[in-house]
């Protein structure tokens, strides 16, 4: 029998890339080692799945089941599609497991802070107190018998933004695995990343966390294999010529945004857990974080805080876990 020829040296140069806009950010997919035609079909399947996730969870699409809940669940019990019901019960479980740190009902507080910070103001204590009355998973009734949802408080609104990206990444990874993809990199806006297998030229995917002030500089590297990485935090924000801090993450325990420039990144084998924990840990006191993580397995995490030094912001390892 004739010996099969050596595989060409460009075997791993077979790289397919596709980016598109989805879930209010940019989705990128890099798949290695499959032919272009198959990759094209895969990209179509991925985009279809993204579309389905967005239709289910978007709070910006007025026809989505989430919008339906946000409009009507205060007046009456609403029965969402089964998929959304399962997502909401999962979110409640994570809310419990994180001691209330992961909470999908923070939207009213987010809006309050965003509108004030854009005017370089802070909201009044009374306004914060009022918004806090409208937030909290304890006010989200999930009827386990009929799978219905009702809001106990007026003004409540759910936002599945971050969770949705983790959810979509798990669905997409499953599609790729079903097609026997062995090496791939998926990213939502670079804050939510999932890798399949390992980098074609190494034993893992070395994913750097960018310095938020010097994006081409790596401040920490995670070595991922069949894993996900989620980063939450604050970003420098330039508007009207002034660099300002925008609190993207509200601490449900205080009703206020987290302070300072910081990024908390979590690696996990579950994209959803990485997503949940990057937000939850950011708003949890350092001394309480290990206890919170004791309920989760195979987690590694790092928090980078940027300190002002001679007019520059210098990254500093504030906290880490499982490294």
């Amino acid at each position: 029998m004739k010996e099969s020829p050596e595989p060409p040296s460009s075997l791993w140069a077979n790289v397919f890339h596709r980016s598109c806009f989805a879930m209010n950010t940019r989705f990128s997919m890099v798949v290695v080692g499959i032919d272009a035609e198959k990759a094209e079909d895969l990209a179509i399947s991925a985009e279809r799945e993204l579309c389905a996730c967005e239709q289910l969870m978007s709070r910006f699409d007025p026809d989505s089941p989430v919008s339906e809940l946000n409009r009507h669940a205060r007046e009456k019990a609403v029965e969402p599609p089964q998929a959304l019901w399962e997502i909401l019960t999962l979110c409640r479980d994570y809310w419990k497991r994180t001691g209330g740190a992961f909470d999908i009902t923070q939207w009213p507080l987010n809006c309050l802070w965003r509108s004030h910070l854009e005017r370089c103001e802070e909201p009044a204590e009374e306004a914060i107190a009022e918004a806090r009355q409208q937030t909290g998973m304890q006010y989200l009734d999930l009827d386990p018998i009929v799978h219905a949802v009702q809001f106990q408080r007026k003004g409540m609104s759910i936002d599945l933004g971050g969770f949705g990206k983790g959810f979509a990444l798990e669905r997409l990874a499953n599609i790729l695995r079903a097609q026997r993809v062995e090496s791939a990199f998926l990213s939502f806006g670079e804050s939510s990343i999932t890798v399949l297998g390992s980098h074609p030229h190494g034993s893992n995917w070395p994913i750097g966390i960018s310095n938020i002030f010097e994006p081409l500089q790596t401040v920490h590297t995670f070595h991922l294999q069949d894993a996900s990485l989620s980063s939450s935090g604050t970003t420098p924000y330039n508007r009207m010529g002034r660099a300002r801090l925008v609190g993207q993450i509200i601490n449900p325990h205080t009703g206020c945004p987290i302070e300072g420039y910081r990024t908390l990144s979590v690696a996990s084998h579950s994209a959803i857990e990485a997503e949940v924990l990057s937000t939850a840990l950011l708003v949890t006191r350092e001394e309480d974080r290990a206890a919170l993580l004791s309920g989760f397995s195979a987690i590694s995490a790092v928090e980078i805080v940027y300190h002002s030094q001679n007019g520059d912001f210098v990254p500093h390892f504030q906290w880490h876990y499982g490294l």
Binding site: V15, F21, R26, V32, I207, G208, I212, G233
Partner: protein, 431 residues
């Protein structure tokens, strides 16, 4: 007259301020790119500003003051250095309505009498399609400059006759294809010429409306006269009255005319006695293997009016003036990742961080081709160019070619549908 509404949205300005602003806008558009400046039909617009001397004044007559003619009248009343000296319409109510808008203009019911009027430099023809050829030919014979509404003519032979008459006339000719003067289409043309979407591999255009496409008729005896677009003796309906615009853009962007076309049309909804199709579907074949797919219908408006110019790197939506990259660029870190894999590197790439959100809606909704969407679709500029070319005494190079190519294309499409066979570009046609 100054209160006449203008698509240039300058109605709040005085006459002088209006003129100044008008010229400034022309200069801005004309000077925006060297490629655009080389387009021959822009040359008259780059001429020195119009002075106040009588020699600078261009005296025009409009033949046909129905819907389109009235719009041209409104533009011409605001075009620097233009005097609308005469109006002609054989439908008395239209003529009277037009004359009420222009003090001192002379009214005619027979265009041949208007052509004999002393001191008239040129005419704007905005009449039913079947009249275009004889009016153009008579106007050239009378030594007049001609602005003719699209589509050029009712038959291919008539298109040829107009082109031949023009060639010997040394007169200015312009066709009513305003996209040649639309800043957005000009920018699109520039991008396509620069290869920003790669070679054009397909053009798809459509014009969908939902309505019977009829004008109100005060007396049944006027039906054919006022609704000429529905009857074969006067028009080719959706092809000549709508498709000609997009076929002009397609031929312009591809830089050639098609070799043949096939198509199907029918009356499947507005079965009200009309003779012309209420839906048309034509595919044009070009020598380089590119196809232009055109369809139009008047029983559904959902997809509206659009021309999609497609290449391997992107899609341009002409009517909305947007560019959609085929593959939005990934983050710099992901570019580094891809390059690393391709070149055999195993290295950390700085890519993770707090969420990236689109800077602007442009990232999702496509990139606008021109920052400020002009309220003029090019019609005002095209009339200004016509007047300026007359003043300079210089014919507009390439304009008859544009008119012939689109004019012949739509007649080929109509013939393909009516004869249910492939129709070739007329051999020996001289543009």
């Amino acid at each position: 007259m100054d209160s006449e509404s203008s698509p240039l949205s300058l109605s709040g300005l005085s006459g002088r301020a209006h003129r100044r602003e008008f010229l400034k806008r022309i200069a801005v558009v004309a000077g925006s790119s060297s490629l655009l400046a080389e387009l021959p039909w822009w040359s008259p617009l780059r001429a020195a500003p119009v002075g106040n001397s009588p020699a600078d004044r261009v005296r025009l007559g409009i033949i046909g003051v129905g819907t389109r003619g009235t719009l041209h009248l409104a533009h011409l009343l605001r075009t620097p250095g233009v005097e609308v000296a005469a109006l002609c319409d054989d439908y008395e109510p239209h003529l009277q309505a037009g004359l009420e808008r222009v003090k001192g203009a002379k009214g005619f019911s027979d265009y041949r009498q208007m052509l004999e009027m002393p001191g008239l430099d040129g005419v704007v023809i905005a009449t039913p399609l079947y009249l275009h050829a004889r009016m153009c030919l008579d106007a050239f014979s009378a030594g007049k400059h001609v602005f003719c509404e699209k589509s050029l003519a009712y038959t291919i032979d008539e298109c040829q006759a107009i082109a031949d008459a023009y060639r010997g006339s040394r007169r200015v000719f312009q066709i009513g294809h305003q996209r040649l003067f639309s800043p957005s289409f000009l920018r699109a043309y520039e991008m396509v010429s620069n290869g920003e979407i790669g070679p054009v591999t397909q053009i798809r255009a459509y014009w969908h409306r939902n309505g019977d496409w009829r004008n109100p008729v005060p007396d049944p005896s006027l039906e054919r006269r006022l609704n000429w677009r529905l009857y074969r003796a006067y028009s080719c309906g959706l092809m000549t009255e709508l498709a000609s615009h997009h076929m002009q853009v397609a031929n312009w962007f591809l830089g050639m005319h098609p070799t043949s076309c096939v198509g199907f049309g029918s009356i499947n909804f507005w079965k009200d006695g009309r003779e012309l199709y209420d839906n048309v579907n034509v595919v044009y074949r070009y020598p380089n293997g590119t196809h232009v797919i055109y369809d139009s219908l008047i029983s559904n408006r959902y997809y509206g009016c659009q021309i999609e110019i497609m290449g391997p790197k992107g899609t341009i939506e002409g009517e909305t003036g947007r560019l959609f990259a085929e593959n939005p660029p990934p983050a710099p870190g992901i570019v580094q990742l891809i390059n690393g894999i391709e070149q055999g590197f195993f290295e950390t790439v700085p890519v993770g961080g707090p969420s990236w959100v689109p800077d602007l809606k442009k990232d999702v909704r496509g990139r606008l081709l021109v920052a400020e969407k002009s309220s003029d679709d090019g019609t005002a500029l095209s009339l200004a160019a016509f007047a300026s070319a007359i003043r300079l005494g210089e014919p507009i190079a390439g304009m008859m070619e544009q008119a012939c190519r689109s004019g012949v294309c739509v007649l080929m499409g109509q013939a393909a549908m009516e004869q249910q066979r492939e129709i070739a570009w007329p051999e020996g046609f001289r543009e």
